[in-house]
Structures are given as C-alpha cells and as structure tokens.
C-alpha cells in the first residue's frame, strides 16, 4: 500500500461526515415527505368525502322529495270512491307535470290490484285490475315502509327505480311511482374534482347506478368486487363515518384516491375519485422540491465534509511529510503546524527531536572535521618531511635544500616568512643561507650586518641550545635587535620563533619563522620547526662533508693527473737515453764502428738484454699507472683472434726454443672475427704465454682458443711447478710473484698478469687460473667476441 496515510484518513473523514450530514438530511426529507403525503392525502380525502357527502345529500334530498310528493298524493280522503278516484287522477297528473323525474304513477288497492295508472311512457289506465299483490313493492309499502326498488332500465338505456309508499286512509293501499334516475346522473356528472376527478354511485348490491360515462351504467357494471366498494359496503353497519379514503384501482384501471358517502334511505354509495397523479401533483412538486433541497444539502454537505476533512487532515499531512523529511535526514526541516491543539504539540515535539539530532550530528561532524584536519595536517607534515628528506638526499645544492626546508617550515607552521642561517664559527656570525617569502630589504639588512651569537631570537636560541619565542617583537624587553625591529614593525611582523641548528652541541645555524600575529607558538609548531631544523642540520652537515669530499677529490684528481704526467714524462725521459744505449749497442754489435772482438760482443749482448728488460719494466709501470688512473682507453677495431694467437706464438717462438719447450697452438678453425683492442689483447695473451714459458723448465706450453655463445675462451697451459691455492689469489695483484726470489731468478716485473687481467676486464671479460703445485698451471680468460664502446674505468 503506497497510498499515503493522509489520503486514507481524508477519505475516512469525508465518508463519515457525509454519512452523518447526508443521513440527517435524508431522514428529515423522508419524514417531511411522509407527513406532507399523509396530510395531503387526508386533505384530498376530506375534500372528496365532502363532495361525496354533498352528492349523497342531494340524491337523498331528491329521493325524499319524490317520496314526499308521492306520499302527499295519497293523503286526501274521500268517502266517495269515484270522487277519490278522480281526485287521485288529478293529483297524479299534477305530480307528473310538477316532477319531471316521475315517469309513471299508479295506485294499488288493498288487495294489490291496480286501480289507476298515469304515465308519460304509455297509456293511462283506470281499473286495469293488474294484480301486484305478490310484488315486493306492494308488500313493503303495505307494511308501512317506503319501498325503493333496485335500478332497472327501460329501453335498455334509461335507469329507473320504483318507489312505493303506503296510501289511503288506513294505509292499506299503495302508490307506486316509476322514477327516472337521470336526475341522479345529473347530480353525479356535475361533480368535478380537479381535471380528471369524478363521482359515481353504486346501489346496495354494488351495481353502478350513476357515472359520468353513461355507457358504463348501461353495461350494468357490478362493482361489488372493487376494493373500495367492498370496503365501503362492509363498513356500512359501522356507521361509515370519517376516514373513508383509500387508494385503489379505478373503474378503468389506473390508481385513484377514492372517498365515499352513503345515501342512507337507499343503501347506495356515492364515490368520489381522483387520479393519484393529479391528486398528488402538489405533493410531487413538493417531492421534487424536497429532492432538490436534499441534493443541494448533500452537495453542500459533501463540500463541507471535504473542507472539514481537509482542514483536519492537512496538519496531519504536514506532520507526516515533515516527519518523513526529518527521517530522511533533513534535520534542518521544521514542521509548521499552527492548529493550537495536540497536532501542533506533536509537530513541536518532532521539531525538538530534529533539533537535538541536528545538534548531536553537528557535534559529531565537528569532531570528524577536527580529526580529519588533524590527519590532513599530519599527512602534510609527513609529506613535507618526505619532501625535505628527498631534497636533503637528492640534491647537494645547499641553498636549494635550505630554501625547501624554510618554505615547508613556513607553510606548515602557518607563518608569514622564514630564514635559515648557517653559523660561522670563526666570526660568530649567522649568515643567511635560505629564505622564504622574506622581503628583500630584510635580506639586505641581514646580509649587511649579520646577527651575532647571543643577539636576537636566533642568537639567543643557539646560545641557549633551545627554541626561543618572541611573542611580541614590539616589546623591547623581548626583542633587542633595533635595526631589525624597525623593519619588522613596518612590515607588520609581530612574533618570532627561532630554533637552533645543532650537531651534537656544535652550532650549525638557526631556523627562524616570523608571523604577523603576536602571541606564543603552539607546541606542535615548535616541534615541527625543530624537526625541520634537524633536517637542516643534516643538509648543512652533508653539504660541508660534500664540500670537503669535493676538495679532496679535486686534489686527488690533480695529484693523479700530475702522477700520470710525471710517469709519461719519466717514461719518455728514461726511454730516450735507453733508446740511445740500445741503439748504439745494436750498431756496435753490427760492426758499424768496426769489427768487434768476441768477448766484447758477448758483453754487449748482456748490455742489450739488460736494456730491453729495463725498457719492458718502464713500459709495464707506465701501463699499470695508466690503468690505475683510468686513462687506458681501448682502441676498438676488427681483429682475428687466430692472428692474435699466432702473432704471440711468433713472438715467443725463439724464447720457447731457447728453453727447449714445445709450444702448441690450438686455434679452432671457425673462430669468428672479433671486435676489440687488438694491440692490447695481443699484449694480454703475450703476457700469459711469456709467463708460462718463463716459469716452465721442462715440458710444453699450450695455447688454445675457442669461441661459444658470443665469447672467446683463451687458455694458456704449462707444465710448470704449479701454484698453491693461497698464491692463486695474489698473483694477479701488482708486483706479486709466487716468491719474491723468483723475480730475481726469472726476471719480469710481476706486472704482466695484472696488466693482462685488467685488459681482459676492460673488454668485459674475466680471467682466472686453475693450478695445483706440481700439476702445472692453466691461465684462462673469456672475452666477448664483439666489444662495443665502454667507458674506461
């Protein structure tokens, strides 16, 4: 059910109010209608009945007149029968003349025989002697009563009635009058009620006697079955008083309001009837009026119900909607119900609850906000510290690092500007090393006349080895540097925080921040600035160390350069005289200066040999020093490893042959062409092979060269004394031979292996030895086949 409760409530109110108002209206209308119906009906019946009674009275009058006239004719008493007869005849004729309703009058004697008959209808007869002694008319009248016969019709069209009265002196004779009832019909047909109302008469047997429509009378309609007739006849003994009105079917159908009155002497009944439609026409108008009024009332009551229900429901809806909004989280919403009743109280209650919720939420939000701010601050500090650490670690430009640190310190401490000083121990002055958002004039003043130890905030902080705050620069007791205070006063700075930069109690400088608001700095700010000060100490320390290292490096570099130059010069200087010695020796032994005796030639041979040894020593020393100085640059080019090996073999052939050693060269046939420094590689292989020959007395020296996986593998094996594992480590170092005596014995500088290994390594290769004492030695190296440009070490 998504229908809002307000809608349902509204419906309920409307229905209840409608039932209430509508019901009352309906009931009153119905009662009004009922009573007015009853009254109308009673009034109509009364009118009808009055008419009926009047008609009945006139008919009764008519009948009684006739009876009286007829009786009157019989009162004359004559002794003489003839005279009586004549007088009677005269009376009868006069009667016929005076009373048109009497159509025939006859006289019956005591025996019931007709003595005289005067008639408008037929011939008069005197003494006809017709015997009527058995007829009811004679018998009734003789008994002293007036006889009224049932209605009968002559010529099938005219209603007649026989009236018989006693006559004669003793009342034993009878006068009989035949009376036409057309007069009654006239009476009846004259009765009019409204447009369609009419009257009719029925006799004691219930047969229609008179009716405006004569044809119905002529049909001799028996109306005894009609309910109103039956009811009237049944009531007769009771006296037939008032209240005789009812609704019944008319003679020819339709509904009629009917009333009647009795005609006493005849036992007849006069009915007056009016069609219901006409009779109740005023009532119908009244009904229509009532219905219209009812409808109007109902419409008004609907309107009123709706308005009332709306008035009742509106505040409830407002409450409901407001509660829903508050419930949905809109705590700023307030319910506006101004009904001054319980609903308003309820609305106020909701409002109070919402307000309390809002307050508690606001409190919660503030807490969350505060915590978030703290976290953000902490994060920012961490970030700043990370920044600073990175700066300290990545750049050795002190000014950049210190500028970064000051900037972070100013940002995080929410101050206006800041500086970092480096302390100069020699002068006791603080020199500006980094600043952030500091006005140029302040910088100039600080540069021109540096702050001294014990002066100003930073001087005091450093002297005290603790942070110093100046809550108000304008206070002379707090801040004593007049030249700065004047500027700060103009620029609007009010408070200062100075933190010393200390490296294990050694003064490095100070970190200072300024702000425009006076007052003390929060402990967190002081902590933060101290942390950044520690970073500054590191940065300054690093920078100083770096400066020292740089100086040392420069000195070393220059020393190394001098050494290399010196060696190059030395080498040249040594080589030049040596060149002369060797040259002259060669010329002498080749007899350029004349025949040389055998003994001298022998000595000259030793001179030549010693000279060459000296030359190789000089060359080796030069090589080593160049390698050490990183000045040995490979001259890369195409070469054939096979040729290198064979060049070396050629160079040492004589040497091997001299020692009667077998020299085997085993170069793989499919060696690829290499790229490298051919001369240096040749030198390396030559050194290895020379060594092998030098240290081998008996047996052979084998040189092998193969290639696989983009590398050459060159090994030089000998059948020499072998090298102990301990010595294997040392032999590649400079000036090391297995035993120092061997240097003297075998000659050589002890630099050959070292140079060979460095050459191989410069090519990106590796050199090692496999050996055991008494087993000979194998020196091997691998080497990339293709060596591209690589930096000298």
């Amino acid at each position: 059910m998504n229908r809002p409760a307000g809608r349902r409530l509204f419906g309920k109110y409307v229905v209840v109010l409608l039932l209430l108002v509508g019901g009352v209206l309906l009931l009153s209308s119905a009662l009004d209608l009922y009573f007015s119906y009853q009254e109308t009906k009673a009034a109509l019946v009364r009118i009808e009945r009055e008419q009926a009674v009047a008609a009945a009275a006139r008919i009764e009058q008519f009948v009684q007149d006739i009876e009286r006239q007829v009786r009157w004719t019989t009162q004359a008493a004559f002794d003489d029968p003839v005279a009586a007869q004549e007088q009677r005849e005269i009376d009868y004729l006069r009667l016929l003349r005076n009373i048109p309703a009497i159509a025939e009058i006859s006289h019956l004697d005591a025996s019931g025989k007709e003595r005289l008959r005067v008639s408008r209808l037929g011939l008069d007869a005197i003494g006809s002697q017709e015997d009527h002694s058995r007829a009811p008319k004679f018998l009734e009248a003789r008994a002293g009563k007036t006889y009224f016969s049932p209605v009968y019709f002559r010529n099938e069209s005219e209603p007649y009635m026989t009236v018989a009265v006693p006559a004669g002196e003793y009342g034993v004779e009878v006068t009989v009058a035949e009376v036409t009832l057309k007069a009654i019909w006239d009476v009846v047909s004259r009765i009019r009620i409204g447009q369609a109302g009419y009257a009719y008469v029925v006799d004691s047997l219930g047969r229609l006697v008179a009716h405006p429509d004569i044809s119905l009378v002529l049909q001799k309609r028996d109306l005894s079955a009609l309910p109103q007739v039956r009811a009237a006849r049944g009531r007769r003994p009771a006296g037939g008083e008032e209240d005789v009105g009812m609704i019944a079917a008319g003679l020819q159908g339709g509904r009629f309001l009917t009333a009647h009155a009795p005609i006493a002497p005849l036992g007849w009944l006069v009915f007056v009837e009016q069609p219901l439609g006409e009779a109740f026409a005023p009532l119908q108008a009244s009904i229509v009026r009532s219905i219209i009024l009812f409808a109007l009332g109902l419409a008004l009551s609907v309107l009123a119900s709706v308005l009332l229900a709306r008035r009742m429901v509106a505040p409830i809806r407002t409450l409901q909607a407001g509660a829903a909004r508050i419930g949905a989280g809109d705590l700023t919403h307030r319910i506006q119900v101004r009904t001054g009743d319980e609903l308003e109280t309820l609305g106020d209650e909701f409002n109070r609850t919402a307000a309390r919720l809002q307050e508690s939420y606001a409190g919660l939000e503030q807490k969350v906000e505060a915590r978030t701010r703290e976290l953000t601050d902490a994060l920012e500090q961490l970030k700043a510290l990370a920044d600073v650490s990175r700066a300290v670690g990545s750049t050795l430009d002190l000014e950049t690092v210190l500028d970064t640190i000051v900037a972070r310190a100013v940002e995080l401490s929410a101050t206006s500007s800041g500086v970092i000083y480096e302390y100069d121990e020699a002068t006791g002055a603080f020199h500006l090393k980094g600043s952030h958002r500091l006005e140029e004039e302040v910088v100039e003043v600080l540069r021109a006349t540096p702050i001294l130890l014990g002066e100003g905030a930073v001087g005091k902080a450093v002297a005290a080895r603790a942070p110093i705050q100046v809550a108000d620069i304008l206070d002379e007791r707090e801040y004593d540097v007049a030249r700065i205070r004047a500027i700060f006063e103009r620029l609007g700075y009010r408070s200062v925080l100075a933190v010393p930069l200390l490296l294990e109690q050694r003064i490095m400088g100070g970190l200072v921040v300024w702000r425009q608001a006076p007052g003390r700095f929060a402990p967190e700010v002081v902590n933060l600035v101290q942390t950044l000060a520690a970073q500054s100490v590191l940065a300054i320390h690093n920078a100083r160390l770096f400066r020292e290292i740089e100086d040392k490096g420069r000195q070393l570099e220059s020393a190394s350069k001098h050494k290399s130059q010196f060696l190059a010069n030395m080498s040249h200087e040594l080589r030049t005289p040596l060149n002369a010695i060797l040259g002259y020796t060669k010329l002498i032994t080749n007899n350029i200066y004349g025949e040389v005796p055998g003994k001298i030639r022998d000595v000259l041979g030793r001179v030549d040999q010693s000279g060459r040894h000296l030359l190789s020593l000089i060359n080796d020393v030069l090589d080593v020093s160049k390698i050490e100085a990183g000045q040995l640059v490979l001259s890369l080019g195409e070469y054939s490893m096979k040729e290198v090996v064979h060049t070396v073999a050629t160079a040492v052939e004589a040497l091997a042959a001299e020692k009667k050693l077998s020299l085997k060269i085993m170069a793989a046939p499919d060696l690829p062409r290499g790229r490298g420094d051919e001369r240096r590689l040749t030198q390396a292989v030559l050194n290895l092979v020379s060594n092998a020959i030098k240290f081998t007395d008996v047996g052979e020296v084998t040189v092998q060269a193969t290639a696989s996986d983009g590398s050459f593998l060159v090994s030089v094996s000998d059948t020499g004394p072998g090298i102990s594992p301990a010595d294997q480590q040392r032999i590649f170092e400079e000036f090391q031979q297995v035993d120092s005596s061997s240097t003297r014995k075998k000659g050589g500088t002890g630099l050959g292996l070292s140079i060979a290994r460095r050459i191989v390594e410069l090519h990106g290769g590796r050199m090692w030895v496999d050996s055991a004492p008494g087993e000979g030695s194998t020196f091997s190296f691998t080497l990339p086949v293709r060596v591209e440009r690589r930096e000298a070490r």
Binding site: H572, L578, N579, A580, G583, L587, Y593
Partner: protein
C-alpha cells in the same frame, strides 16, 4: 733520386745513431733539431726521405709533417715518423698528419734501415 735523408730529431744521440747507421749504408744525412728548422731544410735541401721524431721543441712532428705535406713541391717526399710508445694512438695521429710510415721507439736500427731502403733504395 737523391740518397739524402733529413733527420729531424732534437736528441743528439738519436741523431748520431741514425747518422752512423745511414752513413754506413751510403746515405747522405742532413739534420735538423726543431720542426721549423726541419721544414725549412726540407725546402732548401730537398731530401729523398725524412725521418721525423714526434716530440720536438716548438712545433711537434705532426705539425711539421702536415706543413711539409702541404707543400706541393715537397709532397712526394716520404716521411717516416718515429712515435713514442708512451702515447697510444700515435700511429693514427701520424697517418692523419700525412706520414708514409711509422716506427715506435725504441726501435731496432736495422728495422729502420730496412724501412728506409724500402722507400729510398
């Protein structure tokens, strides 16, 4: 073709060794101690071959070689450069300067003689 060899060398001993060697092999030897003097002597004496030391006072052997080779009149004279072992890449520099052959110190005098005989029989 003259069998005159110009030796440009600042070291007296080296000059003498070459002089003694070449004289014994029937070459005429003329000498210069500096690069400038050597270039001038090449123009005036028109030697059949020049031995050029690299380390010279004044202009060095490379520059002297370039100047001689730049002179169309002297362009054809073969120049053998004597390089110093101490400085690597000397051979390349020597050829770049325009020399015809080179020999590294210390050299065997008879190897030098063989190279000269090749160029100046």
């Amino acid at each position: 073709m003259s069998r005159r060899v110009l030796v440009i060398e600042d070291q007296e001993d080296n000059r003498r060794i070459v002089r003694d060697l070449l004289t014994s092999a029937d070459y005429e030897v003329i000498e210069a101690e500096t690069g400038e003097a050597g270039v001038a002597m090449a123009e005036t004496a028109r030697p059949g071959l020049i031995l050029m030391d690299i380390q010279l006072p004044g202009i060095d052997g490379y520059e002297a070689t370039r100047r001689i080779k730049a002179n169309p009149a002297l362009h054809h004279i073969p120049i053998i450069v004597i390089t110093s072992y101490a400085l690597s890449g000397d051979d390349v520099k020597a050829f770049d300067a325009g020399c015809d052959d080179y020999l590294a110190k210390p050299y065997d005098p008879f190897a030098l003689l063989a190279k000269i005989r090749e160029r100046l029989p």
